[in-house]
């Protein structure tokens, strides 16, 4: 085990900024998967998530000096990844989301039959029709299992505004799924 493998995030960030930049690898290894599912559901495929997470880590490295509280590196990193996901979806808004949804369903078809996979695919397809803001709150609450309070804290927003966003998402998902079936 390398020295400092169990070090706190803040200690690693400070060490990287002080010149021991190779230790950034520890942060990447530590958090490479934490938001992978979030990115995959936001973007519609694991491949797109991989690109986004990679880019976010590189951007975070470049901007590390701007991480005001090194002990909260992971929350700061999440916001960089979030921006990357939002930008990606806006950029690809005209692309066909169906392929991406199918990619997710196919990759994750491990614990159910065809019907489960089809329902997942339909929901993922419908999710991609939401605005990024609506999709995000749905993903954080119903995929990641966070409470409204936790989401509000992470995104620096209020619970009522999140609920409004979510409730619009519910209606839109219902509409999308009814059109699909």
């Amino acid at each position: 085990m390398r020295p400092g493998t169990d070090a706190a995030d803040g200690d690693i960030v400070r060490a990287v900024l002080a010149g021991d930049r190779e230790r950034y690898a520890q942060l990447v290894e530590r958090y490479r998967d934490r938001y992978a599912r979030y990115a995959a559901r936001m973007l519609g495929s694991a491949d797109a998530a991989e690109d986004a997470v990679q880019d976010a880590f590189v951007r975070a490295f470049d901007q590390l000096a701007q991480c005001k509280d090194p002990n909260k590196f992971v929350g700061w990193f999440f916001l960089i990844l979030r921006n990357r996901c939002f930008a990606e979806r806006r950029r690809n808004r005209t692309s066909a989301p169906l392929e991406a949804a199918e990619a997710v369903a196919a990759a994750d078809r491990t614990d159910g039959g065809t019907e489960t996979a089809e329902r997942r695919r339909a929901l993922q397809q419908a999710l991609l029709e939401l605005t990024p803001e609506q999709r995000e709150v749905f993903v954080l609450k119903h995929v990641e299992g966070l409470s409204y309070g936790e989401i509000a804290e992470r995104l620096s927003t209020s619970v009522p505004s999140l609920k409004m966003r979510m409730h619009r998402a519910y209606d839109k998902l219902r509409e999308q799924l009814r059109e699909h079936t």
């Binding site: 190779e22 950034y24 490479r32 489960t116 997942r120 979510m166 409730h167 209606d171």
Partner: protein
């Protein structure tokens, strides 16, 4: 209400604030439809084992970063090794000497003995450490995996990737420190 929107109480049900039993009887079918939506939520985990490799290589190869000066020419491997693996790289052919230098390539065969593996790939500087770019194919019944590719002359760093997660340096090839306590295999053509 348009009929396309969920009733506010059903939205509370989806939020987890109330249960199906709390709904008036006439709203329960709608509540059941709504809960059905949530059962289709895909919570299966997503893993990105190649990200550390790709991130650090990206940091290394871009000279604008001061970091690159310390790490340049040192690629990066971060994963457990496979103790039982043995591997070798065979040069099985070179282009005819009449070929123009700019078009010269060298055919390289990567071989890894990994009888228990489900899949094997080789990732390196020649394919941007992409786990999916160069899969090896199981050959015969000896547990050998092989891939033959054409590479440009020069120095390449690489490692084998077993089952998508285990990074295995080539014990038959020279290696360099990856800067993170592990070794990358080096192939000079």
């Amino acid at each position: 209400m348009s009929g396309r929107e969920f009733h506010p109480l059903v939205k509370q049900l989806l939020d987890g604030d109330i249960t199906l039993a709390d709904l008036p009887a006439e709203l329960r079918p709608e509540g059941e439809e709504a809960l059905q939506l949530l059962t289709a939520v895909d919570r299966s985990p997503v893993e990105l084992p190649a990200v550390p490799q790709r991130v650090m290589w990206s940091l290394v190869r871009e000279p604008k970063r001061a970091l690159g000066r310390r790490l340049i020419a040192r690629a990066w491997v971060l994963a457990p090794t496979l103790a039982a693996a043995a591997a070798l790289v065979l040069l099985i052919g070179r282009p005819a000497s009449v070929a123009p230098p700019a078009a010269a390539v060298v055919t390289v065969r990567f071989v890894l003995a990994a009888p228990g593996a489900h899949d094997v790939a080789v990732a390196g500087t020649f394919n941007q450490w992409d786990l999916h770019a160069t899969p090896l194919v199981r050959t015969g019944d000896q547990g050998l995996w092989t891939a033959t590719i054409a590479l440009a002359p020069g120095q390449h760093q690489y490692a084998f990737v077993v089952d998508g997660v285990r990074w295995v340096p080539d014990p038959a090839a020279p290696a360099v420190d990856d800067g993170f306590g592990r070794r990358n295999s080096v192939l000079t053509l």
